[in-house]
């Protein structure tokens, strides 16, 4: 019985870890969708670029990768701002098809660009805390995963603070709720767009960095599957809803790992979409979505 409880807790913990990556990716995607209402299928590529930036700085300097996360996020704010300005702003409001095909094009550009710069072989990084375990209740958990959960919580708290307490955050929320209304009260929505897109990309970079420090292998094609899952999560949680993305990401991580244990590894991806379909049938707006979003 104790053994079963131990396994259950262990699976929940791996679900929590996977959920952290999904939460950061999906929250960033939702932030962008909430403000700009654009569909960016290339969001997973920002995770990939974040992973490579962290790994490259780590390989070159040996700086603790948990410190590099900030540099990686800053770099992605810049890259995100450029992509928003050059690619998405010109087609904003011209139809969803344009956004979809633009983002598909970006996927190929980023993947091939990364393959040219870093090569397309898989790589991995060893965290400085590799091999250190910490007792958590009845579990013995590697320190890296505790740090990953703590970093995710800290980033989400900082985002919450930014959105609730700062003027720019409030302007972002206003733009998300009513773009025309925000324009009428004098908010520069184009500035808000660029900030939202940059922040969304920075969250993807954080997810990529945490992916790397957890010892998972990465290559230029790593972003596609997590991006699809991030879309499933934001639909599951409710389009534009940050709490929805958090709960959805956590739910997805735990469901995937439970399915891999109970049904086998091949069900890991499928179960996410089964849950998505069930939630949409019962509640078409998603768990935290509102009508009309």
């Amino acid at each position: 019985m104790m053994d079963n409880l131990g396994i259950f807790l262990q699976i929940m913990f791996w679900g929590l870890y996977a959920g952290c990556i999904y939460i950061l990716l999906a929250t960033g995607l939702n932030l962008i969708f909430g403000v700009m209402k654009i569909v960016n299928f290339a969001h997973g590529e920002f995770l990939m670029i974040g992973a490579y930036i962290t790994a490259t700085i780590f390989f070159l300097t040996g700086i603790n990768p948990y410190v590099i996360i900030l540099l990686s996020m800053l770099a992605l704010i810049g890259i995100g701002a450029i992509v928003e300005r050059l690619c998405f702003r010109p087609i904003l409001g011209t139809g969803k098809l344009n956004e979809i095909f633009l983002s598909i094009g970006l996927i190929y550009i980023f993947q091939n660009g990364a393959a040219m710069i870093w090569g397309d072989a898989w790589q991995s990084v060893r965290s400085p805390y590799d091999g250190i375990t910490v007792p958590v209740g009845s579990l013995s958990v590697p320190l890296d995963y505790i740090i990953i959960v703590a970093f995710t919580a800290a980033i989400l708290f900082a985002l919450y603070f930014f959105l609730k307490k700062t003027t720019t955050g409030m302007e972002m929320r206003a733009t998300s709720q009513n773009r025309k209304g925000a324009m009428l009260v004098g908010i520069n929505v184009e500035r808000i767009d660029i900030i939202s897109f940059g922040l969304g990309c920075a969250l993807a970079a954080a997810a990529g960095t945490l992916w790397v420090v957890s010892g998972q292998v990465f290559n230029p094609y790593m972003g596609s599957i997590p991006a699809v899952k991030a879309f499933a999560i934001i639909i599951l949680g409710g389009l534009g809803s940050i709490p929805g993305a958090i709960i959805g990401g956590l739910l997805m991580g735990i469901a995937e790992n439970s399915a891999a244990y109970l049904l086998g590894g091949i069900w890991k991806d499928a179960v996410s979409f089964i849950i998505l379909i069930v939630v949409l049938v019962v509640r078409p707006t998603g768990l935290f979505g509102e009508k009309g979003e």
Binding site: S124, Q216, V217, I266, K268
Partner: protein
């Protein structure tokens, strides 16, 4: 309104006619390519996608082979003329659709005389229909599922299998577990001789992984081995997070874990098992993991692990093939600055086999080359073959290799593990040993 429609129809007709003329011209060129001094060998590998590390190694090895053959004068044809080899690569993108595209392009656009390569069994089997349709001789040097030449739903008579199948190495590894690991564990842990060895399987959910799973199960049943399969966990190709399946395996208390995975999956499986799950056991790996990147990624966590092998970047068996293997590694290192892996070695040989078959046939006519492959008996090149000869079995056109088992030990200076051959007795350079940290499963 009706004139533009007529104009478009006329354009389409002209385009079709033009394509037909081009096709005919290309066909004529194909039959005369050898006599014009060039043999076109198509190499289908995974240059991109999850299997790209192995795929690039295969492609680079093929180039080293072509360089050597061409430097030695090329291929002698029936009329005494010499033909140089020209390699054309097709990237299967590690996907079935990509494989289909690559095979079709190489056959219909590039008009290759013969094909070499193929890594993922799932990907390779997806375009075998195209091979059957165009009847192009294909020497498969990486895809190890027996279905590659055993399947009966399509004609596989033009496909020749130059790598051990999952049946062969699954059986070989299971025998090693029974004969070597069992006694070592019993000795170290004080178990009785009749205690079943508790084996767990971690396999990729593809034809390759399932092939290994089937081979292990069949070997245990047919040979009545005292091995109990305590957990069989699967994962998707390209997966990177294996912690949940490894948690399930640990809960089953195994004595050893046999992993059927690609190197980009195998290294994280062992790392996550030892670092995150605390599964301190013996991990047995399939031969495709004998790859420089695998050793690099494993780091200290590879200590004690086993790889079933027939070519390694870092070791060679004593005897006839050692010099040939070292010469190949040196040539590869000189050209690319890294070392070839096992799939590279069989692809290197695949190019030699293709050249020899065309030389024996004296023509690039595909049916004649196929027959030359059927009748082929050539001396082993760099890998140890049964009777030191490369030939294909009459039933399923499979060549037969001499295999061995390696154990990895950590080299502090390099920060990586290095292999040493521990089985069979006639090839081993050291004895198998359980690491000090090894923990056996429950009694």
């Amino acid at each position: 309104m009706k004139y533009p429609v007529l104009f478009i129809v006329a354009l389409l007709v002209l385009a079709t006619l033009f394509a037909g003329c081009t096709q005919q011209a290309a066909t004529q060129q194909q039959t005369t390519s050898a006599s014009q001094g060039t043999i076109k060998i198509g190499v289908i590998v995974s240059l991109t996608g999850p299997a790209s590390n192995v795929g690039n190694n295969m492609w680079q090895s093929a180039q080293v082979a072509a360089d050597k053959i061409n430097a030695d004068g090329g291929v002698t044809l029936k009329d005494g003329s010499k033909a140089q080899i020209k390699l054309i690569v097709g990237d299967d993108e590690s996907t079935q659709q990509g494989g289909q595209k690559a095979a079709t392009k190489l056959i219909t656009d590039d008009k290759v005389d013969i094909l070499v390569g193929g890594y993922s069994s799932a990907v390779t089997s997806a375009y075998e229909q195209t091979i059957a349709e165009y009847k192009v001789p294909y020497i498969v040097t990486g895809a190890s599922s027996p279905i590659i030449t055993h399947r009966t739903d399509i004609d596989t008579s033009y496909v020749f299998h130059h790598c051990p199948t999952t049946d062969t190495y699954g059986q070989y590894t299971t025998s090693f577990i029974d004969q070597v690991i069992r006694s070592a564990i019993a000795k170290k842990s004080g178990f009785s001789a009749d205690r079943p060895l508790r084996l767990a399987l971690m396999y990729q959910d593809t034809a390759f992984g399932k092939g290994v799973q089937t081979a292990v199960n069949n070997t245990i049943t047919k040979e009545k081995l005292n091995i109990q399969l305590v957990s069989q966990q699967s994962f998707k190709m390209g997966e990177s997070d294996f912690r949940t399946q490894l948690t399930a395996i640990k809960a089953a208390n195994p004595d050893a874990v046999y992993i059927a995975a690609f190197p980009n999956e195998g290294a994280p499986i062992i790392t996550q098992a030892r670092r995150d799950i605390g599964l301190n056991t013996i991990f047995l790996n399939v031969e495709n993991n004998d790859n420089a990147q695998f050793y690099k990624d494993l780091g200290q966590y590879g200590e004690g692990a086993i790889i079933e092998s027939r070519f390694s970047p870092y070791t060679a068996p004593a005897g006839a093939v050692a010099d040939a293997q070292n010469a190949f590694k040196q040539a590869y290192f000189t050209k690319f600055g890294t070392y070839p892996d096992m799939m590279g070695a069989s692809t290197y040989e695949g190019v030699f086999i293709a050249a020899k078959a065309i030389g024996n046939a004296g023509t690039t006519d595909k049916a004649t080359v196929r027959q030359a492959l059927v009748n082929l008996k050539m001396p082993q090149v760099i890998e140890a073959m049964k009777d030191q000869t490369i030939s294909f079995s009459p039933d399923f056109r499979e060549s037969t290799f001499d295999l061995w088992m390696e154990q990895l030990s950590f080299n502090q200076t390099l920060g990586e593990t290095r292999p040493a051959i521990v089985w069979p007795d006639n090839l081993k350079t050291t004895a198998f040993a359980l690491p000090s940290w090894y923990t056996a499963g429950s009694t």
